[in-house]
Structures are given as structure tokens and as C-alpha cells.
Symmetry: C2
Subunit: 246 residues, 2 copies
């Protein structure tokens, strides 16, 4: 099982939008796909019309009283399952810190289900806490949406600095431009210059498009309800580029 996580310390950059669209595309292409909504906010669960579970979880999972596969739900889409958001995960850090290997709890929880899926995508809240450390241990790749603004780019430098001090050799960083607006000079400027500094930035960028905001009304990925739209075509290109990195 390949594990991909959408991640950025910065909020509102397109993590959930990317996770839901790529999960849909992977399942469409035949990967047995699981999407884990690790954000207590539960936006990914909302997009797949699955009610987040309330207050069952994180302590029971940490104390080995329950297993992750009990939480898995099927979505409306063939080959795509979801572990819905669980509000008790807002205290994941505290629950994990009481265990013997606090940073490896996600890895432990995933082991029993790893043979059932080809791909796991993790969506999480913007943070750099013990929860993030768990994600860094478990994931093979981090998909990092960057809005081409000074503030959002700054968090990429912070992340690189974090990994300089706490190396994670196994982890591939895949930054890409998200929600870009060609009318903004700042966006054009950063998109022109940053790829010279960081070779790892993906070729595919996702434009800022009204259709994406409709995902909240349609409660579905944009690649499902508007497959010929500009953002949907961009997400298909992004998926093709990410798949090559497997």
C-alpha cells in the first residue's frame, strides 16, 4: 500500500480539495483506494456525504480496544473507501503522547489494513504537531499545495527547515501550485521564479476556479460533477504526474 498525504502548515491552500479529487481519480483508474479524513473539521467526509463519527475514537484506538478497519465506510464511488473524520481526533496529540512510540501510532494503526488497499490518501488539519510527525512517519509522499503568495511559500521553507533538523529519508516532498490566479502579478512572479529554486515543484498547477467552490454544494469532487472543467482537467494531469512518482 502506497501512502500519500496532502500537507501544509498553512491553512486554506487546497489540501482537502486535492485529497478528495485525487482519491476519486485513483479509484477510477482501478487502485483500491482509501481516503483517511484525519481533520476533525471533516471537510473530506462532508464532500463524500459521510457523517463524521462523533467521539468514539482516538482513545479506544490508542489503547488497542478498537481497530481502524471498524471505522472504514464505503463511498458512492466504486473502489473508494473512507475513514470519516472523528471529532475525538482533535486530542490525537495527547492520546498518542501516552503511548510507548508516540510518533508511530498512525503506522501501527494502518498495518492491519495495508494489504486491503493499493493507495491510502491522508487529509489532515494544518499543523506541525505530534499528529504531523505521525503522518511523516507513515507516508511515502507529501503532496504540498502552495498558493503562489509570500506567506504560503514561506511555509514551504519552514517545512524544509523542519526536515533538515529531523530527516525523513523515506519521504518524498511533492509541492505544486494550487489556487493560482494568472491575473495577479505576485502569483505570476512566484510561479516563474520558485521552480528555479526548488526542482521538485510539480509541472502541473491547479487554477483558482469558481467550479471548485461548488464542491461544497454538489458534495462531490469537481472531477466527478464537472469533468471537462479547467480545474478537473488540471487535477487529472496532477494525478498522472503524481502516479509516475510511485
Amino acid at each position: 500500500m502506497k501512502i500519500l498525504a496532502t500537507y501544509n502548515i498553512k491553512g486554506g491552500v487546497g489540501k482537502t480539495t486535492t485529497a478528495t479529487n485525487l482519491a476519486y481519480l485513483a479509484a477510477w483508474e482501478g487502485y483500491r483506494t482509501l481516503l483517511w479524513d484525519l481533520d476533525p473539521q471533516g471537510a473530506a467526509s462532508f464532500y463524500f456525504r459521510i457523517k463524521p463519527k462523533l467521539e468514539t475514537g482516538v482513545r479506544g484506538l490508542m489503547r488497542k480496544k478498537s481497530a481502524l478497519d471498524e471505522a472504514v465506510k464505503a463511498t458512492d464511488f466504486e473502489g473508494l473507501d473512507l475513514i470519516p473524520a472523528d471529532f475525538s481526533f482533535r486530542n490525537f496529540d495527547i492520546a498518542a503522547s501516552d503511548t510507548k512510540q508516540p510518533a508511530k501510532q498512525l503506522l501501527r494503526l494502518l498495518r492491519p489494513i495495508s494489504s486491503e488497499y493499493d493507495l491510502l490518501i491522508i487529509d489532515s488539519a494544518p499543523s506541525i504537531s505530534l499528529t504531523s510527525e505521525n503522518i511523516f512517519y507513515a507516508a511515502d509522499m507529501l503532496l504540498i499545495p502552495l498558493i503562489p503568495t509570500t506567506l504560503s511559500v514561506r511555509t514551504y521553507y519552514q517545512l524544509l527547515d523542519y526536515f533538515r533538523k529531523r530527516p525523513a529519508q523515506h519521504l518524498k516532498l511533492l509541492p505544486f501550485f494550487s489556487m493560482y490566479d494568472r491575473r495577479r502579478a505576485l502569483h505570476r512572479e512566484i510561479m516563474r521564479t520558485l521552480p528555479n529554486e526548488f526542482r521538485e515543484i510539480l509541472n502541473t498547477s491547479i487554477p483558482n476556479a469558481k467550479k471548485v467552490e461548488r464542491m461544497g454544494l454538489e458534495r462531490a469532487p469537481v472531477v466527478h460533477f464537472a469533468p471537462q472543467s479547467k480545474p478537473a482537467r488540471a487535477y487529472r494531469k496532477l494525478w498522472a504526474e503524481v502516479e509516475k512518482k510511485f
Copy 2:
């Protein structure tokens, strides 16, 4: 000392932009103002050109080995001080959970400095963890930026639901529309209908404007470098409306 916190479980909605502009305006009007950058990302510290402190903090503060006033820095602006971001605060939840009153640690840390300032503004990361509970205990008002989209509005319902189960009688909720774009039908629709449902939504809204994204380049609040711009005028109106609620 009045305590105001910008807050939303959703990321990227304008929490930091609002905190930095209102802190500047409050100091300009003569309030002895302190801005606390409680987000390990340190965006507010970046806007005031103050280097975040690295790894000194959160454990020393919780074990009463150091006091908050040792961390206070002056900004370039008269009457405005800042407690810079501290990367160790990414483990605030774990550090606070080891104390006798985990949810009241912020309140405890602030007591010794509360006579030195008229207003404290807290900016924090999007979360709903023990850190947020600390903010809810300490603050008088929560200033809640809402982008007029389905997803962002949904987090306001979640917050109301959270307070229904864990009442905080002393806390005033002040939601307002942030980063609105009149060209988007979804934005216009939500701005027309939501105020009928929630009377507490402030009259002032902040438009989505390129000038604001320049704060990252100027490293200053937009009300300082572009005082006659549309977003600056909107932030002055917002400040006037919030001040009336004191």
C-alpha cells in the same frame, strides 16, 4: 485588559490578516495593545518583522520556570507589542495536559501582564484542540472570519455545536465575512442569506483584494502601507464595529 482572539477551525480565512490589522488600528487609537502570535507558523510575527523564537518556550512556561513577559517584543509601531511565535508551541496540547488545570494555562500565563495592556489580540492556528479550549477560557470575544463558501460556513455551525455542548457564557462570538468576492454568485448568495439566520454577523465585511496579498512583501499591515485602499477602509470600519462591542 480586553482579550480578543481571531479564530476559525477552517484554515486560510483571514485570521492572521485580521489580527495584525486590528492590532495596528487599536494601538493607533491609543489602546496599549499586545498581539500574541500563538501559531507556530508565525505569520503575524513575520508581518511585524520579528523573528519567531525557537524552542525556548512552552515547557518552561508550563513548569513556571519562565514568565510570559520575558517574551514580549516591541514592534515598529508605537503602543503595539508582540509575543512572537514560538515553534515549541506546536506541542502546547501535550505540555498543558500535564498540568493541574490544562484548559486554563493561557489564563494563568496572562494574569501577571494583564495590567500592562488595555487590549490583547490572540492569533492562532486553525484547530479545535486543547489550545483552542485555552483560548476560549481566556478570551472575551472571538472574531471569526468567514469566507462566504459552503465549507467555511459549515465550520461556523460546527463551532456553535461545540459551544452548545460546552457552554462558554462569557465569550462573545463575532463572525464577519472575509475575503468576499462580489463576482461569485455563491459569495453573494451566502452574504444575503446567512445574516438572517445569525443576527450576530457583523455589518462590516472585508473584500478580497490584491493589496492584502502584498502584506507578505511589505511585511506590514495593509492599513499601514495602503491606508486609503478598499481593504484598509474596510478594516477601519471593522475595528470601529468591534470596539463598540467592548
